[in-house]
């Protein structure tokens, strides 16, 4: 079937099998490999994207369900001025080792901070429960979230 949707602000019209995942369509058909495929069962969060402003696992969305939708992936978070503060914070806090979990975490953290600009550690832990990292032990990820929160409020950025 034909899928028409907006991805990172750009209109896309592509052919998909309706039952394939949005993750597959993004990576294999639209040339957007930033969103990672690790488990295909909703457990790891490395495929986290926004669909119509809501953070979801792209591996659990049927491509056909994105018809007419607005998708934002990790590739869509930076703007002309450079990487998003969440991305800068991850790079500078050492929150990235192998980097496989990073794109999903960046989107998930972006989502947390857009709802609660100064989350407590308990709230961060709960909000990131669906994102697994096998490398960092999460401490540096927490540092990155706190530092991103500070940067965003300094820059007056909500999203």
């Amino acid at each position: 079937m034909r899928l028409s949707c907006t991805v990172n602000g750009q209109r896309r019209d592509i052919d998909v099998c309706p039952a394939e995942s949005l993750l597959f369509a993004l990576r294999e058909r639209m040339g957007l490999p930033g969103t990672k495929n690790a488990c295909e069962q909703g457990e790891c969060g490395s495929c986290t994207v926004y669909l119509d402003g809501v953070a979801v696992c792209a591996c659990l969305i049927a491509a056909g369900q994105a018809e007419g939708g607005d998708v934002v992936t990790v590739e869509g978070l930076a703007d002309d001025e450079g990487p998003h503060p969440v991305q800068q914070a991850f790079a500078e806090s050492g929150a990235v080792q192998c980097g496989f979990c990073t794109p999903g975490l960046i989107v998930a953290v972006h989502d947390v901070l857009s709802h609660s600009p100064r989350p407590t550690d308990a709230a961060i832990r709960e909000a990131l429960a669906g994102n697994l990292c096998r490398c960092t032990g999460y401490e540096k990820i927490f540092d990155a979230v706190r530092s991103a929160a500070v940067r965003m409020s300094a820059e007056g950025k909500r999203r």
């Binding site: 039952a19 909703g42 953070a55 696992c57 659990l60 018809e67 909000a127 429960a129 669906g130």
Partner: protein, 290 residues
């Protein structure tokens, strides 16, 4: 895979299901897509329900019943329904992760009918009713009659779950779940308790403790009889313990990688006694405040 049908209204969805009963309904996809990704299922076609507005609504009628559309996400239940459906909202908080709660629905939990589905014990404890719909009309099924076996239910090939009806404002409710960590766990044991101050009944729903989600009727009868509804005096330790034992007795748990049947029985007895005490405390507090 031949078809992907995207109705934009409930009538249209029912017509599609009647015309092609093999279509697999697809709501949040958090169960269906795992099956598809791992090629455990190769459906003839999918019926995407996410564009059916009727399924995404809830309303409260006469202040007595909450009609919850099958397609309302857990995230919305947590945000919008903590007051009307406290046990269901608490259970929703324990489902998966934010990403899963943003998509997953009670209709999908009913469709899957897993013995461990977290939305199901609250529906059982509160005495909820499932509304099914097809081109032939609507029918109501009491929640305890909905499940027929592990992952089996009474849905006919042309039917969809339209909504669930939950009684509101009857009294305190509790939900507890045991698992190896605080998030992203399938329940090892789950229990919901609901007090109904009007009919003076205690309802108990159990998850992951039998081949299907069940009520603990003997325990319900015992607690309803033993509690001092008029005087509101505290619960005697023996009453709480007896209640726990009766709940454990209602279970037919399995041994599996997540827990032994003996552990499950023990855990639910503890949860039950605790939940009854908590719920009763709240009931007494509400009563003394008038």
């Amino acid at each position: 895979m031949t078809s992907f049908v995207q109705p934009v209204g409930l009538d249209e969805a029912c017509e599609a299901k009647a015309a092609e009963p093999d279509l697999v309904p697809l709501a949040g996809g958090t169960d269906v897509m795992v099956e598809l990704n791992f090629r455990r299922a190769r459906p003839h076609g999918l019926l995407d329900l996410t564009r059916v507005p009727e399924l995404r609504e809830w309303s409260v009628s006469d202040g007595c019943w909450l009609r919850l559309g099958a397609g309302v996400s857990y995230a919305r239940i947590i945000k919008e329904l903590g007051g009307h459906a406290p046990a269901l909202a608490t259970a929703s908080r324990t489902v998966g992760s934010p990403q899963i709660r943003n998509r997953g629905t009670v209709g999908g939990n009913l469709g899957t009918s897993s013995p461990a589905g977290d939305a199901l014990p609250p529906l059982l404890a509160t005495g909820s009713t499932v509304e099914l719909v097809s081109v032939r009309g609507n029918r109501l099924v009491r929640i305890e009659d909905f499940f027929t076996g592990p992952k089996e239910n009474v849905l006919l090939p042309d039917e969809l779950v339209a909504a669930v009806w939950l009684p509101v404002g009857r009294g305190p409710q509790q939900f507890s779940k045991v698992g190896p960590r605080n998030a992203m766990v399938i329940a090892v044991a789950a229990l919901a308790t609901a007090l109904d101050g009007e009919s003076r009944r205690v309802g108990v729903g159990l998850g992951a403790l039998a081949p299907r989600p069940i009520r603990a009727v003997e325990a319900e009868d015992f607690a309803s009889w033993a509690l001092d509804w008029d005087g509101g005096s505290g619960i005697h330790a023996d009453v709480a313990a007896r209640f726990g034992a009766l709940v454990a007795g209602a279970c037919a748990p399995i041994d599996d990688v997540r827990g032994s049947s003996a552990y499950r029985r023990h855990a639910v007895a503890v949860l039950a006694a605790r939940s009854l005490r908590w719920a009763w405390q709240e009931y007494r507090k509400d009563k003394s405040c008038g």
